[in-house]
Amino acid sequence: MNTNGSRPTLQVSHLQTSFMTKVGEVKAVNDVSFSVHPGQVLGLVGESGSGKTVTGFSIMGLLDHPGRIIGGEIQFRGENLVGATKKRWQQLRGSQIAMVFQDPMMTLNPVLRIDTQMIEAIRAHEFVSRKEARQRARDALGQVGIPSPDERLKAYPHQFSGGMRQRVSIAIALLNKPDLIIADEPTTALDVTIQAQILHEAQKLCQETGTALIWITHDLSVIAGLADDVAVMYAGRIVEYGEVDNVLDHPLHPYTHGLIGSVPSRNRRGSPLHQIPGMTPSLLNLPQGCAFRTRCPQASDICATVPDVSEPRGSGRLIRCHTPMLLTESITELSGMFAT
């Protein structure tokens, strides 16, 4: 893993978040650990239901009832956020930790003006005059590439396109210069060209400002060009975690391998698409032991017990697997760089 020698902005250790529903306990996040350093981008990859969004909400303290963090630590710049008071959360959110949501249509309040929603984000954390806050908002809009910011400030959300709205959400996230930004599938709802632009800008911003970024997505291609590290999640656990180039070029966990293999551009024309057989199990009904067992081409009897986190020698990453691919196998099979 890339460390530039500094203390991590965020260090998550053995995080466990469950939803206590009427039909049982849903272990959405089941012993997850990772860290992000200043200026670094971590890609958190997984299908829907893998627990990636819940991980993001857990870090922000935005879990809805009946969800609760039941174990582990979230160290933000040395401070454990688990069990923090409501007041502390309010101080942190929006000023030191910010989040960008997936759906740009609904993240902005339709009946309030853009400037209202930006100014309140500033004034919730600092005593500044409205005029100054407005100026900062204006600058932030410029920073994310929105033209004629003065007019835009007076507008309402529905007068913006999806891409613009998402830029505004990003601008809001940047307003108070947070140390950590969690972006939950921010470009999924946008078209490809806008997506590329935003990705590029995000990368630039992080490098310039030293902000740590967690980018949650199900789309591997996004991660490839953007992230420094990648953590692959499956059914509430991280199954593979390492530097992005390492993991994507030679994935060791069968699931990661399957994910990369199933990307259409990876396949030769005319040959059948690779697919991971089966479906993601319901979190209420997980197979015993390794959750991927039922779909894994390499599963064996030992997989009936939950694999611990291990670091195969020389691989430069952590995996959770009893029967990982061999490094040599992986290199031969997936030759060629993953196109960026």
């Binding site: 959110r93 009946v111 919730a124 007068q159």
Partner: protein
Amino acid sequence: MTVFIIRRLMQAGVVVVLMSFIVFSGVFLVGDPVDILISDEADEEDRERAIAGLGLDKPFHIQYLVFLRNASQGNLGDSFIFEEPALLLILERMPATFELALFALLLAVVVGIPLGMLAGLRPNSVTSKSIMTGSILGFSLPTFWVGIMMMMLFAVILGWLPSTGRGPTTTFLGMEVSFTSWKGISHLLMPAINLSLFKLALVIRLTRAGTREVIHQDYIKFAQAKGISSSRIVLVHLLKNILIPVVTVLGLEFGGLVAFSVVTETVFAWPGMGKLLIDSIGMLDRPVIVAYLMIIVFLFVVINLVVDIVYSILDPRVRLREMKA
């Protein structure tokens, strides 16, 4: 925006004319027009004169046109009892009715919205459940009976409040109002509360439903993610979204309040238009009855129009949609 207003005005005009036709036909075709417009006490000669003078011997459509012409000039006939123009009589009493209706509306909103929001924010609490049960009672109970019970309890048995009538009035913006003195308020209190109960129940239920819906929206979560305080989230983000449907309904309901004040005014002997109507019915003062019906229909249509306009101002999405249309 102006196009929108003009269009609505035209629609309103159609409704008013239609209603006038219905009222007129109803009164003249079903009842005996002679009886309706001429006092029972007139003797034969006066009757003949009146019939000729009022054109009652002319065919229906001519009578209707005459009625319309007179109505547009503000002449809706003279009261038998008071021997004054009916329109004037009603207008004199309008401020009293409006005062009552406005206070009832105010009460419903000021008490109802916070209660509804409370019930919506903590849906499974004891507070919420009792508020909701209260709201069922609030509109199941017939208003007039609740009024009688209130009167019995607070006026007759406890003697805290006066049972009937309106308090001393002062002139405000050219109208007589009574809420300017404590005595006036003591007279206003029971009727206003009585009239407001039904609307209060409505507001509570609407607000609660709205709150439950809005609170789960992404933008509320996003506001939390920005670190906005809960009080601001509730008072600004939540409230403004809830207000729109609530205000619309309430605006429409104001007309209903004015109409329904007939009952409360009768129970509490409040000297408004409604009481005048009931008294007139009892005294067979028909021109006043007709005038009241016309005016209240007209009022209703105007209120609907105003509400539509206000709604479009409040909800920016509607304003833009209408402008494009």
